[in-house]
């Protein structure tokens, strides 16, 4: 069942079209990843879903209600984790949780109980009385997420929640997201970290220049590029005729030299490795090392756009 359906969504800033008529949906209980480089339109898209921006065109239907016309329909059930630390640094962790809890309509014992639960989930229970400005970057990030969980939302949107933090805090956040999802929370997770999206998301939309250029599970996306992977070779006694011969193989997409290595982008083909080794032997060159890198979303993005995710 679709919890959220986005259809032909558009948004422009003056002459720049930030989002160009995208369409996707979010199923109840899934973690949907929005992957793309900076400036791909991810934040604009989620700002429209979070009712912060009014779309120029298109619609966002949440549980059967058009949220452009009725923002309240999603606001009450949405936990929003902005990319920035949207907290009050002069207030303590507890005061922040109290304030945001009340902003979402919680009060009395319910609020108190939720603060206890959430601070356990995000692992800052022992620092609740301290001012947020004394927290580490990772703790602030965790509290930033905690604030969005207070009212037990049905859907949570996380906009690059792990930017600029240490690996330990990052792992804690990723584990938290998985835990919340197991408890039934639907998550939209945006990131330009491919590894995070691969780890967390059951479905992924790859965005670039305001468009969704691919959509599906990780396996489905890799399939879209014929399982292409990199074959990294270090050879001795070879020349360009060997490289031209390898590139001419029907299962080789491209070949290039990089820092003494030869990187051949190859399609999923059980014969290809054997064929290349044969060509090298026939040429009389020696193989010093050979490594096959498994296909990933970076490769998908590269194949689809010709650019790296973090270019």
């Amino acid at each position: 069942m679709n919890l959220l359906t986005v259809t032909n969504l558009e948004k422009s800033y003056k002459k720049i079209k930030a989002v160009k008529g995208i369409t996707f949906h979010v199923k109840q209980g899934e973690v949907l990843g929005l992957l793309g480089p900076n400036g791909a339109g991810k934040s604009t898209t989620i700002s429209m879903i979070a009712t912060l921006l009014k779309p120029d065109a298109g619609e966002v239907i949440y549980n059967g209600t058009d949220i452009v016309k009725n923002p309240k329909a999603i606001q009450e059930n949405l936990g929003y984790v902005p990319q920035e630390i949207a907290l009050y640094p002069m207030l303590s962790g507890k005061e922040n949780l109290m304030f945001w809890g009340r902003a979402y309509g919680l009060k009395g014992n319910t609020l108190k109980k939720r603060i206890e639960e959430v601070s356990e989930i995000i692992g800052i229970a022992d620092r609740l009385k301290d001012k947020v400005k004394t927290y580490s970057g990772g703790m602030k990030r965790r509290l930033n997420i905690g604030v969005a969980l207070l009212h037990n939302p049905e859907l949570i949107i996380m906009d690059e929640p792990t930017v600029g933090i240490d690996p330990q805090s990052r792992n804690h956040i990723l584990d938290t997201v998985l835990k919340l999802n197991k408890q039934g929370m639907t998550v939209i997770y945006t990131s330009h970290y491919m590894e995070e999206v691969e780890f967390l998301c059951s479905r992924i939309c790859i965005m670039d220049q305001g468009e969704i250029i691919a959509e599906g599970s990780k396996e489905e996306l890799i399939k879209q590029i014929d399982g292409a992977r990199d074959l990294k070779l270090r050879l001795e006694n070879y020349d360009d005729t060997l490289l031209a011969k390898i590139e001419a193989h029907p299962s080789v997409v491209s070949i290039e030299k990089s820092d003494g290595d030869i990187i051949a982008k190859i399609k999923q083909d059980t014969q290809i490795i054997k064929d290349i080794v044969d060509m090298i032997n026939e040429h009389g060159a020696s193989i010093m090392s050979m490594d096959v890198e498994e296909p990933n979303l970076e490769a998908v993005f590269l194949q689809l756009t010709g650019r790296m995710l973090r270019d």
Partner: protein, 442 residues
């Protein structure tokens, strides 16, 4: 809403740096400026800066009436020996009224202009004067006759005081009555004393001059009533330069608080708590209301601290508590109104410089035009005409009104201005909110 207000208050009071700026700076500035500028003016500033403007209409011809006096004394009384230029000069009723009374005795409280009846009516209508006094026909003649006569006594009971119909001038008119009536009562006492002494001289054939000592003693006792005791006249208290600058600096400093709210709102947008609140369903208007109360509270706390400090440390007498509280509340309201407008513009244009421009240009200009640096009356005429644009003028006027112990009705023009000023900016804020542009989060 209460949640937002509490959060805003906590944010202010937890931030030691901004708290110090809000509370300590005005105290320091008040002390330094008060001391530095103490010598610029006299040790005390009386209410003459705010004195009552009156007109005096002479409904007689001085030369004609003196001639009539001479004719009466010489021809009717056959007492030519009592008439001389010396007597005319020694007891000149005009000198007595204008120089001794209006200038020397009550000059600190009253400024007068001699005018014709028509001019006085026009000036009263135009609010240029608050009252006018008509010295009636025969004023000079009767005065001389009373001084010299035994039988033919004419009391000066027909002095007419015409007051403005503008209710806000009631107090000024009252002041004029309080001063003029005792003066003429004093003159009438002169008449009685003079008559008794003259009669006794004649009845008992006592040589002329025998009662001069007694006459002088009795008159001098009576003359003391010329000296209208200022403390008996409401609104005539004097204030020190410290007092004036305590109010002036406060009127200026509270305006800085208007931009504190704008800066706080801008920080919220920059730190994305503003956007997060919007996602939580809080409307911009709600946040603006909270900001309004934040600014109002800051101004009230600032004013309270400055008033307390100046009362205890600088011995500033702020006058009636009632007056003080009304001005404090309304000035806070007015500043909060303008603060809301600046905050709205700052958020609309996503530009923190709007607050800075207000602080460095508008606040200074308002302080200058409104008399925070030097009293408006001392400013060039062009500046004086523009003082109505400044909130400071009303805040100053309101507080000084209390310091002079004037009645509340005298304060109406200031309180009304503050209310209208605050409301006008609230309306402008509401209009500006409608034109808010929404940008991307990042």
């Amino acid at each position: 809403m209460l949640n937002l207000i509490i959060k805003d208050f906590k944010n202010i009071f937890y931030d030691i740096k901004s708290l110090a700026f809000i509370l300590i700076m005005p105290i320091a500035l008040m002390s330094i400026l008060g001391m530095a500028l103490q010598g610029v003016f006299s040790d005390t500033m009386s209410s003459d800066v705010f004195s009552v403007q009156i007109g005096v209409v002479k409904d007689y011809d001085y030369a004609d009436e003196v001639a009539k006096v001479e004719d009466t004394v010489v021809n009717t009384w056959n007492a030519g020996e009592y008439f001389s230029d010396e007597i005319i000069n020694d007891f000149n009723p005009e000198t007595s009224f204008f120089n001794d009374f209006l200038e020397d005795s009550v000059g600190e409280m009253v400024s007068y202009t001699v005018m014709t009846n028509e001019e006085a009516d026009a000036a009263l209508k135009a609010d240029e004067i608050q009252a006018y006094v008509v010295l009636p026909k025969n004023f000079v003649f009767n005065s001389y006759v009373n001084f010299m006569a035994v039988e033919d006594v004419r009391y000066l009971s027909e002095i007419k005081i015409v007051s403005s119909s503008n209710p806000s001038n009631d107090f000024a008119s009252g002041m004029v009555n309080e001063m003029i009536t005792p003066y003429f009562a004093t003159i009438n006492n002169f008449v009685s004393i003079n008559r008794v002494v003259n009669q006794a001289t004649l009845d008992y054939s006592i040589p002329a001059g025998a009662f001069d000592g007694l006459r002088e003693e009795m008159m001098s006792n009576t003359e003391q009533r010329y000296e209208v005791p200022k403390e008996n006249i409401p609104g005539s208290k004097t204030i020190s330069s410290f007092q004036y600058y305590a109010v002036g600096i406060m009127a200026m400093f509270i305006l800085y608080s208007a931009s504190i709210g704008a800066r706080a709102m801008y920080d919220e947008t920059k730190e994305h708590t503003f956007q997060r609140l919007e996602v939580a369903g809080a409307k911009f208007s709600k946040m603006s209301v909270s900001n309004f109360f934040r600014v109002m509270l800051i101004v009230m706390v600032q004013s309270g601290i400055m008033i307390t400090y100046s009362s205890v440390m600088l011995k500033v007498d702020w006058g009636s508590i009632q007056n003080l509280l009304i001005v404090l509340l309304l000035s806070s309201f007015a500043v909060a109104g303008v603060g809301t407008f600046i905050a709205t513009l700052t958020v609309n244009f996503n530009n923190p410089r709007i607050g800075s421009v207000f602080e460095f240009a508008v606040v200074q200009m308002m302080a200058l035009l409104g008399g925070s640096f030097i009293p408006v009356e001392v400013l060039p005429e062009g500046f004086q005409k523009l003082s109505f644009l400044s909130l400071n003028a009303s805040v100053l006027g309101g507080y000084l009104n209390g310091m002079y112990d004037r009645p509340l009705i005298e304060m109406l023009e200031y309180t009304n201005y503050m209310i209208i000023f605050g409301l006008a900016f609230i309306v402008l804020s509401l209009v500006a909110m409608k034109f808010r542009r929404r940008e991307s989060l990042s």
